[in-house]
């Protein structure tokens, strides 16, 4: 299973989770099969005048991931992810390593809606 995390930088599993989704500097895709990580930059959306969440979500859909782990997710990003069949999980952890632990232990809560309004 491939899971994407919103991260501040690329330090593999030692990366720090960014509190934003659409304007997160990058995404770290973690593969539960072989413990590997791939970093995807989100730089093009950091300066987007609007719709950063929509485009970030669309980019994630191209990474063949089954789940996204984030601190927060807005309504438009959530809609795009759900329509792509990607599950959204919420976490409070700041370390990717600890969030992976909780995810694989089934301790993270699956979101049933966005948890913040747009432009949060």
């Amino acid at each position: 299973m491939r899971v994407a995390f919103c991260v501040q930088n690329d330090k593999g599993v030692d990366s720090i989770i960014d509190s934003r989704f659409g304007r997160s500097p990058g995404f770290l895709v973690y593969d539960t099969q072989d413990d590997s990580t791939t970093y995807i930059t989100n730089a093009q959306n950091l300066s987007a005048p609007q719709g950063a969440g929509i485009q970030s979500a669309q980019n994630i859909t191209k990474q063949n991931v089954q789940a996204v782990v984030a601190h927060n997710c807005g309504p438009k990003a959530y809609q795009v992810l759900i329509q792509a069949g990607i599950e959204v999980y919420m976490t409070q952890e700041s370390s990717v390593k600890e969030a992976i632990q909780k995810f694989t232990n089934g301790e993270l809560e699956k979101a049933t809606s966005s948890n913040v309004p747009g432009h949060w």
Partner: protein, 274 residues
């Protein structure tokens, strides 16, 4: 003649000045005056006058409609949209109409002609004559709740201008797109400010904006007597004319809160009109 009343900071008295200046100009020149309240997110000039013969007109912008039968899910529309209003996932387009600026870029990019242009309602333009002074007509825009596209509605309000009257524009606060849209085609801008740190800070930004737009302007200081003299110092240093100063007055505030225009008589616009 088109005069825009603007400010950086909100609540400095744009509407107070716009309405009272309109009444004063009409009285002095005997010419028809048109008030265009372009603060479409919170129009309030109409509160101070009684309108009759009111008419309503729906304002729309261009938007898109997707034909699921024709769409092949190629994603070219999403790539073309500079407003990030379209996502294509699992070969299906997801369109966020509130983000669409109606530029038609996606329609041009679509190889299957699956996207057509439609009209989407964003608000209403309300027009009427001032009951006790039919030489003044007022038009204001009312943006639909949740709608973010103020500039096209402002354009619809501005289109209500007529050639034989003097137009006074009540601009939205701030210096972003809605304010620029409201003032850009004006012959003259009056920036209303208050003599406080906030007033000065936002006045500086507004001055910078109006200078970029290359429109002649001057300043009216409202609530004179509060704050300090830094706005005066700034205007002197920048060689900006202060048209008039409206003193802080409980009487004006009480009349204003009752929605009465009697405060217009408390203000001296003789110099401003000249």
């Amino acid at each position: 003649m088109r005069i825009a009343i603007a400010s950086g900071k909100g609540g400095t008295g744009k509407t107070t000045v716009a309405v009272s200046l309109s009444l004063a100009i009409q009285e002095l020149t005997k010419k028809p005056v048109t008030i265009l309240d372009c603060d479409v997110e919170e129009p309030n000039a109409h509160i101070f006058v009684t309108l009759h013969k009111t008419q309503q007109m729906k304002a729309t912008i261009q938007s898109c409609s997707f034909d699921a039968e024709k769409c092949i899910g190629c994603g070219k529309c999403s790539e073309a949209c500079r407003f990030n209003a379209i996502a294509v996932v699992k070969k299906n387009p997801i369109f966020f109409s509130d983000m669409c600026h109606g530029c038609r870029g996606c329609i041009l990019a679509c190889p299957e002609d699956a996207i057509t242009s439609i009209q989407r309602e964003i608000g209403t333009v309300i027009s009427g004559d001032v009951q006790d002074n039919p030489s003044i007509d007022l038009h204001y825009g009312l943006l639909n709740v949740g709608e973010i596209m103020a500039p096209p509605l402002i354009e619809s309000v501005l289109a209500k201008e007529h050639t034989n009257s003097i137009t006074i524009i009540d601009s939205p606060p701030g210096t972003s797109c809605p304010m620029v849209q409201a003032v850009r085609t004006s012959d003259y801008v009056i920036l209303v400010t208050e003599p406080t740190a906030f007033g000065l800070h936002d006045l500086k930004i507004a001055v910078e904006t109006v200078r970029l737009l290359q429109i002649p302007f001057s300043v009216i200081i409202n609530r004179e007597g509060i704050g300090d003299d830094r706005v005066h110092q700034f205007c002197q240093k920048e060689n900006i004319e202060i048209l008039t100063e409206i003193p802080q007055s409980r009487k004006v505030a009480v009349l204003y809160s009752k929605g009465q225009t009697a405060w217009a008589k408390e203000m001296d616009f003789t110099r401003a009109i000249q």
